[in-house]
Symmetry: C2
């Protein structure tokens, strides 16, 4: 999923290769442990046992609990794609529902929040989360915006720096609202909510682009 640790160069030359099956089994076991035990209950020893792997093998590949969980949770976002439903509103609704479906899973909830909490004191961890989780989500905003500009649903960008700020704003508004509703308000992100949200967001963006 991500460049993790590597002995030397891109293809480690000699010696016994690392088991790819073990890698996959560990990530599966990590997600299962997150579901059953939560973040605080998850121990590397437990994960190792579930995966049918020695505890030392875990420590050879990951620096600790934080990094392991980031990789395990990041894989959940692989399925995230930008649909093409014809209109910007429909595209947004589709992505938001996909995103919400992932966030509804218990391993994503406990794992993501906990690792985000740890990242506030660990710059390397924050960077790891950014590249393997956040940026992949952000790209969807970028693509959706470009597609809407081609359709004429959004005005083309003028200044590249203001465009970047707008994308950041949209991203924080979309992802923030979904995360907050799911994890703080603890209420479902269902069709009616998504429609209301999309309506407010798009009207706001259209109005903000036009002169006041």
């Amino acid at each position: 999923m991500v460049a993790r640790m590597q002995s030397r160069t891109s293809a480690s030359r000699t010696g016994r290769p690392r088991s790819a099956e073990a890698d996959a089994a560990i990530l599966v076991a990590t997600r299962a442990a997150l579901v059953e035990l939560g973040w605080s209950g998850l121990t590397l020893g437990n994960v190792a046992t579930r995966a049918g792997v020695a505890k030392t093998t875990l420590y050879r590949r990951w620096a600790g609990k934080n990094e392991l969980v980031v990789d395990a949770v990041a894989a959940l976002f692989d399925e995230l794609e930008l649909p093409d439903r014809g209109t910007l509103a429909a595209d947004i609704e589709g992505v938001v529902l996909q995103f919400a479906a992932i966030l509804a899973r218990p391993e994503a909830q406990s794992g993501l929040m906990a690792v985000l909490a740890e990242s506030t004191r660990d710059a390397a961890l924050r960077e790891r989360i950014r590249t393997s989780v956040v940026d992949r989500q952000k790209r969807l905003v970028l693509e959706g915006r470009a597609r809407a500009q081609v359709r004429g649903e959004l005005p083309p960008e003028t200044d590249p720096s203001t465009a970047a700020r707008t994308v950041d704003l949209i991203f924080d508004m979309v992802a923030g609202a979904v995360v907050h509703r799911t994890l703080v308000s603890a209420e479902p992100v269902d069709q009616p909510w998504v429609q209301s949200f999309t309506r407010v967001l798009l009207l706001g963006l259209a109005g903000a682009a036009a002169p006041s």
Copy 2:
């Protein structure tokens, strides 16, 4: 701050009363430990030492780390108030900046996120967070909306259930965007960002209230 544990009735009748100074010292020590050690590094033994209190005293008042940190962090939100700056936009900007200032503090970041992660598997903890942290923020949205309706900046509510849904939507959008920008994007919630955000939000709400 919150009804916590109580021996019998409202006024514990007899025996030595609990030290209020100890209570305050413990919460201060908890926040300090969050800043210096983060969530994972915080231990109840350490907090007890900092507060000049025995470890057993901690366990007599709080069930564990989760509950203690909730109370310690909840106190940060006591200062949150709704200013009256004349316009809805200015009121929102004021509240958002206050909220962002609290979230910028390291004890709020690591503490809140971690305890939120734990709350996904603990209904009682989630409820505790809701009453002592979330609802207090939500009330500001309610008050601000009512004030704006008096001013004529927002249409009066028609159906009470749709009004409640709208308030929930606004709350998730505001709090979600601020939290996401602060903790996930790890970028500052400063004046220009708040103005852009408020502009998009208000135009969206105005447009959504009007017929399409």
